[in-house]
Every structure is written in C-alpha cells, then in structure tokens.
C-alpha cells in the first residue's frame, strides 16, 4: 500500500471513528509497518548468558566449546587482558566405568568444592556430590596458555572466544605444590609483566613472568597457605587502581571451606587475608534449585560502566543441597562490600568455575566448565555471552 493510499484510508478511518461508526471502522483493519528496534540495549553483565555456538567459537567438537582437547579434561580457565586463555588440564588415565558405583573419594580435601557436607550433627555427614571431573582418573594437572586467534568475521570483540590447544607453561615443581597445579589466574601489569596465580595442594601460589609468553617462575612458598583442613582454591586477583575506596592496590578473592575470602596486597605478591565476604544465600526459584550450602569458585573483574564508575563484578558458584551448582554474581564499588544479584546468571544447573571477560560496556563473556558434550572426557570449557541476543559471528 502506498503512503498516499494509506493516508487516504487513514483519513477515512479517522472520519468513521469520529462519527462513532463501528461498522465503518471495521474496514480499517490495516496494520502499519512494524516499529524499529534498537541496535542494542544497556546490559549490566547479569546474564542470562547464552552459550555460543560452533560458528561463534569455531570449535566443532563439542559444538560451541571454547576449547576442546581429545583425551584431556579441562579444569578451570580464564582469559587474560590480551585475549590469551589460561587453563588447567590433565590427561585421562582411566575412564570411569558406568557401573563402577559411587565414588568414595568425592570429599577429598585436596580439591575443595567437589563435594559438600550437607548433613547435620545428629544424622552424620551426607556427602553431596557436585558436578566436576574425577581427578583420580587423570594425570597431574598443569597450567597451559593458548594464544588468542584472530577475530575473523566476528562482529564484536578483538579476539575469538574459541581457542586451539595451548602449550604447557606451569607444572608442579615446588614442594608445597604437591603433585598438581590448577586454577590459573593471570594478571597483566602495566609494564607487561605477568603475575600468574594458581592453586596447588599447599595453597595458592604465584608465578612471575616478564611477559605473557613466559617463562613463569614460581615462588618457593604459597602466598595463601593451606592451614588445618582448609585448602584455599580458585584465586582471582584484581588491580584496584580504578576503584574508589579500595583498601589495597591488589585484592585476591579465593575459596576456602565453602566461603569466599578476600586478601589484600600492596605489590600483588605478598597477600594478607582480610575477611570472608558476606554474601546472602541465593534463594531457590523452585525445588530443582535446592538450598544453598556453600559458595566458591570466585572470579572477579573490574569494569567501567557507561557512567564512568568502576565496579567489581564477582561471579561465583552457589552450591546447592541437591548437588546442583548455580552461577551467580555480586558487585562492589570498593572490592570489599558486595551486593548480591540473587539470581543465577546461567540457566544450567551443572556449570562451574565461572570466569568473565568483557568485550565492551554492554557485552560480556562468561567462561564456564561444563560436563556436557561428546568428545570430552569429563567436561570442558564453554563460553556464554550476554546479552543473549548478541551474536559474535555474522548471521549465516
């Protein structure tokens, strides 16, 4: 319909409407053009994160994974500021049999977070098995780095969200580390030097390198040591110079005994524990969510909002009484007192070890361990994007 004829029809409809004639207006059932939609709306990193597909990550097996290596289980991963992926992985030594029965080592203290004590003093401990690899079936874990791929054909971002298998950069070498290193977290400083935090049997350590390419030299002692039965895990360190009111130039968030703790440092190497974070339990949406028993797996990132204020987004696991894990978020302006989001940022209930990366003010990625997918031994790393309507590759 041309504008002229549409206008004429609208005029007739208006006249009929003014005359109050419902019969005459019956003929006016014409629809105007569909209204335009904005190119994008503001988003604050609260999800829900949509898993990228194979076209977006260029990883086909399993489809849409951020990285996949045959015969190898990927543990935790994080993306450094240059787009490199740091991850811990181990080769499978023996595949668990389907009829092997329940595992009896689910509660080993060496890998905090795998299992939780959901029991009561009267009833005795009842171990809640959380999703996660069985590391007793693997070689020792080590840390790898995978360089970023060029963003061929991508609509957003400087680097591809998918990665090729990387090279090993860190293995257990110090006595306190025991047999493995895992949970890498790379912090690139202004001069290009790198502090690589990681977890091992004796606590959390740091390795230094003059550049992302290494070599990485570890310290002879952990920066946060295990004590009694508590083994610190999953370090995440931020540079606080953009924050208002931060107590230290560097803050480390880590998991210990089912809570998230924060430690401070003036040089990024020597850390002193400050406190445990006060995070209200995330309520269940329905009976599938269960109740929160513990939190862990923190991963923090400093972002600057469109209002030019810098805040810390802390993604973490809410571990539930029925064995599910919900990934959620809290935020802070000083790095110490956090406001909890109170809802999951990922729909799935079996994702773990979140790690954020920011593409711009609106678009963020969340790398997560997932047990899904053929071709993986016991899970690999997937990556989600928020807002979910954003595609990182051109429409086919």
């Amino acid at each position: 319909m041309t504008n002229a004829s549409r206008r004429a029809l609208l005029g007739l409809c208006l006249a009929a409407s003014l005359a109050g004639s419902s019969v005459a207006t019956m003929g006016c059932s014409t629809l105007g053009p569909k209204g335009s939609e904005p190119d994008g709306l503001p988003h604050n990193g609260t999800g829900p994160y949509r898993d990228l597909d194979a076209d977006e990550t260029a990883v086909r097996t399993p489809s849409g994974a951020a990285i996949s290596i045959g015969g190898t289980t990927i543990d935790t991963a994080m993306v450094a500021s240059d787009g490199s992926l740091f991850y811990a992985s181990a080769t499978v030594t023996a595949r668990p049999m389907p009829d092997a029965g329940p595992l009896d080592d689910a509660g080993v203290a060496l890998d905090a977070g795998v299992a939780l004590d959901a029991g009561t003093p009267d009833a005795g401990p009842a171990v809640v098995r959380l999703p996660g690899p069985d590391w007793s079936q693997h070689e020792a874990r080590s840390v790898h780095r995978s360089a970023p791929r060029p963003p061929t054909g991508l609509t957003y971002g400087a680097h591809s969200p998918g990665f090729e298998p990387g090279t090993e950069i860190l293995t257990a070498s110090q006595a306190w580390e025991g047999s493995f290193v895992t949970d890498p977290w790379a912090l690139v400083r202004g001069d290009g030097s790198v502090l690589l935090y990681y977890a091992a049997e004796g606590g959390i350590g740091v390795a230094r390198a003059s550049s992302l390419d290494g070599p990485y030299e570890t310290e002879s002692a952990p920066v946060i040591a295990a004590h009694d039965d508590a083994v610190p895990r999953r370090p995440s360190v931020i540079d606080t110079h953009l924050l208002t009111g931060a107590s230290h130039p560097y803050l480390m968030y880590y998991e210990e005994s089912g809570v998230i703790r924060v430690a401070g440092s003036s040089d990024g190497v020597a850390f002193a524990p400050i406190a445990s974070l006060t995070l209200p339990p995330m309520p269940a949406r329905d009976d599938r969510d269960g109740a929160e028993l513990a939190v862990g797996g923190p991963a923090a990132i400093v972002v600057t909002t469109p209002a030019s204020r810098s805040i810390v987004r802390l993604y973490y696991e809410s571990r539930r009484s029925n064995g599910n894990v919900l990934l959620t978020l809290a935020a802070s302006s000083d790095g110490a007192s956090f406001e909890a989001f109170g809802r999951p940022v990922v729909e799935e209930r079996d994702r773990r070890f979140p790690s954020p990366a920011v593409i711009d003010e609106r678009i963020s990625l969340l790398y997560q361990w997932s047990p899904e997918g053929p071709g993986t031994s016991e899970g690999t790393i997937f990556v989600g994007v928020a807002p979910g309507g954003v595609r990182l590759a051109p429409e086919m």
Partner: protein, 477 residues
C-alpha cells in the same frame, strides 16, 4: 428610539454572548467529558511551518490554521478564509550507550482551515486543524516494564490529531477562542489458537492468531485569549487540558475452561502422546501516552512593520505524569499429564508487574521567535524567521526499576515565508508558502543506578532530531 437602540444592543449582546458561549462552552463541555485522551505530535514537533520556524512562540501571534494548536483565539484575527496544507517529517538520531535506538521517523500531512465571519459587527472564526501521520492512526507498544525506551519520542507522537475551535473578537483588542481536540487511541486484543508441538515447536506447531484493535477518539479541551492593546503589541495565553491514553492489551492463548464450546482460542500441546490443553492469559493495562496540562503566556512586539519579536513561556505539568509501566496480570495453566510432570514444569504463578511512580517534574519552557521582511515587491513578500526553545527534561534520574530515557532538548529553527498577493482576477486573495527546518539537540545524559547489580545498569543517552516541512496556504479575502 432609545428602546430600539437598547433592543438592538441587547440582541447584539445576546449574539455576542451566544458566540462566546459557543467558543468557551465547547471547551467547558469537553472538560467534563475528556477524562482520557492521548498524546500528540505537535507538542514535540509543532504545527505549521511559520509557527514552528518561530520556535513555537506564537501564542500571542498566530492566525493561520496552526492556531488550532497554539492558541485558538488567534483564529478570530484572520481577515480571510484560509485553507492550508503541508507536509512534515522528523528524523531521529537517538542513541543509548552509542547504540542507535532506531526511533522511527515521523512523517505526515498537516492541514487546516480558518473561516472567519461576522455577526452584528462581531467577528468570529471557525478553525479546523488536522495532523495525519503516514503510517499509523495509532500505534501501541507494550514493552517490558524495565526495558529502556525514549519515553517522549518513541511512541507518543504517533497519533492522529484533529482540533475544531471557535473564536470571537468581541472588541478590537480582544479575541477569545476555545474548542476540542480529538485524538485516536486503540484497545487491542490478541488471540492465539492451535496446536503447539513441544518437541518440534517450529516445524510441527499450527497456530493462528487474531488481533482486534478498537479505534476510539478521545477529546481534550483547549481555550485561549489574545489581547492587543496596541497595534504593535500583542499578548496571548492558552490553556491545554491534560490527557492520558489508557492502553489495554489482552492476549489469550487457549481456553480458560477446557472444552468450553464457546471458546475460540483452544490450544493443545502435542508431541508427547495424547494432546493436553493449556491456557495463557495476559492482561496489560498501562498509560501508553500522557500529555500534561499546559499554560502558555506569550507576547509579541512589532517595532516596525518589517520586524516582529515573540517571546513566551509554557508551564507544563509533568509532575502529574502517569508511568507507562502499568499493571500486568499473567495466568498460565497447562494440564500436564502425570507421566510428564518431571519433564514439564509449570510455574505455580508468574509474577506480573505493578505501576511504578514516574516522579516526573514540572517544567517551564522558554521560547523566542523572530520574523522579518527580507524582500517586499509589488506582489511578493518574503519573510525570514528564526526561533529557539529549551525544554529541560522532566524525567528524573532512573536509579531503580524504571528506565525511561530522556534528556534536555535545545531546539533551533529557521524558516522562510513567501507570500503572493494582489492576485486578482486569478485569485481574490493570496497564496502563502512557508518552509521550516528544525534541529533538536539532546545532550548526553548519564543515568546511574543505585544497585550495582541492576540488570540494565548505568547508561548514557543522547540524540538529535532533524525535522522539516512546508505549508501552503490560500487565502480568500
């Protein structure tokens, strides 16, 4: 003789009174009947090229058909019957966080007429003004409550406007006018029926939908006065009534009572054995567009016959604004068979929304406009015009649940008028062509949220609007 004169005077007075009652009564009557009416495009973009070019500062100085919006009292100043028609367009470049908000352009016809007359020496005039958009009679958008939207520009102007006014000039220095403006709005019902396949919804579902929109008119009053104590000096005042568009959207999927023989929206879920019924109801009631009551006071000074300067200020009662985030009630019922209840979970209740206070603030809009003769020949006169007005945003910082986007607005306008007169015997009157260009600058505004985990978060908004148009009027003296 004295008796006749008294009688003649009383008859004249009665007729004047009758005209005054007609002029004012229409608006008085409409005050009682116009509880709910709709937004209008003229509040944002103006009406008629001459008036827009002068920044809209014409409350004390208008006599063409745009008086139907700016001040109906000006109709009685017209000495010739005038018929005008014009075309207008506005194009938006609005962005949020540097992303284009894609506000649709607004284009349409403006037209109107002014028919003056005289009864017993008392001049009066009837006026009609129409704004007819190209694309819509009325557009309704029901957006999620938290979704950011340019509140004053996205949907509000997309209405038809029609105004009918009557004005009288009981004495040479005074004109009074009033009347009713009409706008269109709609009530919409969406009904969906059919089969929805759970396993392959896109390929094996068969759904039909029906949209029913009832177009209704709504009315609001407008009354104005112009006082001209000296030939070179004029003052004007106008009152425009408040109105709000009550937008009701109802969506029905399935039958509330299964197997209801009168239900035409049956919905079945298939793909898992025997089909089972479902029912979804959404009732959304919100104020889709609101225009606050306004009072404009203006003055016009013409120190020479070739130059005119207009100033005015408008009070806009935005504090009465009703939030567009309205009430919504959602019902979902699916009779899931026992065997599928582990796979298909139906929430016990779905939380709707409740109105959030908008907390808008009143504003005063200063306007200034000028007009000068550029060229005057025997049959031709060309006038140049310019204007400016400033609107501070009535929208408060969006710190919490709502995300109504707005910014201050600086509006600059330019125009040109060409008048051909002494056209007899071709035309016993004149032809006037007016053109205008209007530029609006909406400087960047930053909204900072109280909550650090607000899903929308902080945002920046800014924009520009380019508008223009032309009007041709023919006057019959």
């Amino acid at each position: 003789m004295h008796h006749d004169a008294t009688h003649a005077l009383s008859v004249r007075a009665a007729r004047v009174l009758a005209l005054a009652i007609l002029a004012l009564g229409a608006s008085g009557l409409s005050l009682a009947t116009a509880a709910r009416v709709s937004a209008q495009p003229m509040d944002t973009y103006g009406m008629g090229s001459r008036s827009v070019a002068m920044g809209g500062a014409v409350t004390a100085d208008v006599e063409d058909f745009s008086a139907n919006y700016y001040n109906p009292a000006g109709l009685a100043r017209a000495r010739a019957a005038r018929i005008g028609i014009g075309y207008f367009g506005a194009f938006h470049e609005m962005s949020v966080d540097d992303l284009d908000s894609n506000i649709d352009p607004l284009r349409g016809i403006v037209l109107g007429l002014v028919v003056p007359g005289e009864i017993e020496g008392v001049r009066f005039a009837f006026g009609l003004g129409v704004h007819l958009n190209d694309d819509y009679i009325s557009r309704t958008r029901s957006l999620p409550g938290r979704r950011p939207r340019w509140e004053l520009y996205d949907n509000r102007p997309r209405r038809i406007f029609l105004a009918a006014h009557l004005a009288i000039r009981p004495v040479e220095w005074l004109t009074i006018g009033g009347g009713i403006s009409f706008l269109s709005y709609s009530t919409n019902t969406l009904a969906i029926r059919g089969n929805l396949d759970i396993l392959m919804p896109e390929r094996r579902s068969h759904l039909e939908h029906e949209i029913r929109a009832d177009l209704t008119t709504i009315r609001y009053p407008q009354v104005g006065v112009q006082v001209q104590p000296l030939p070179e000096l004029s003052f004007g005042a106008v009152y425009r009534g408040q109105f709000a568009l009550d937008n009701k959207l109802q969506a029905l999927v399935g039958c509330e009572v299964p197997d209801d023989p009168f239900c035409t929206t049956s919905l079945s879920f298939t793909g898992f054995g025997d089909p089972f019924p479902g029912y979804f109801s959404l009732l959304s009631q919100a104020v889709n567009a609101f225009v606050p009551q306004q009072i404009s006071l203006g003055g016009s000074w013409s120190p020479t016959p070739d130059f005119r300067l207009n100033v005015e200020v408008t009070w806009v009662n935005w504090s009465a604004y009703v939030s567009p985030v309205g009430r919504s009630d959602i019902t979902l019922r699916i009779a899931v068979p026992e065997s599928l209840r582990d796979m298909i979970r139906v929430p016990e209740s779905i939380m709707g929304s409740s109105p959030q206070p908008a907390l808008f603030q009143d504003r005063f809009v200063p306007r200034i406009g000028a007009e000068g003769v550029i060229l005057r020949e025997r049959m031709v006169e060309m006038r140049g015009r310019g204007g400016f007005f400033y609107e501070n945003s009535p929208v408060p910082n969006q710190v919490s649940l709502t995300n109504l986007i707005d910014s201050d607005r600086f509006v600059f306008s330019l125009g040109l008028g060409l008048r051909l007169s002494d056209l007899r015997p071709l035309l016993p009157g004149f032809i006037q062509a007016d053109f205008h260009f209007q530029y609006s600058l909406l400087p960047e505004r930053v909204m900072t949220k109280t909550s650090l985990v607000d899903p929308v978060g902080d945002f920046r908004a800014s924009g520009q609007i380019f508008a223009g148009g032309a009007t041709i009027e023919v006057g019959f003296e």
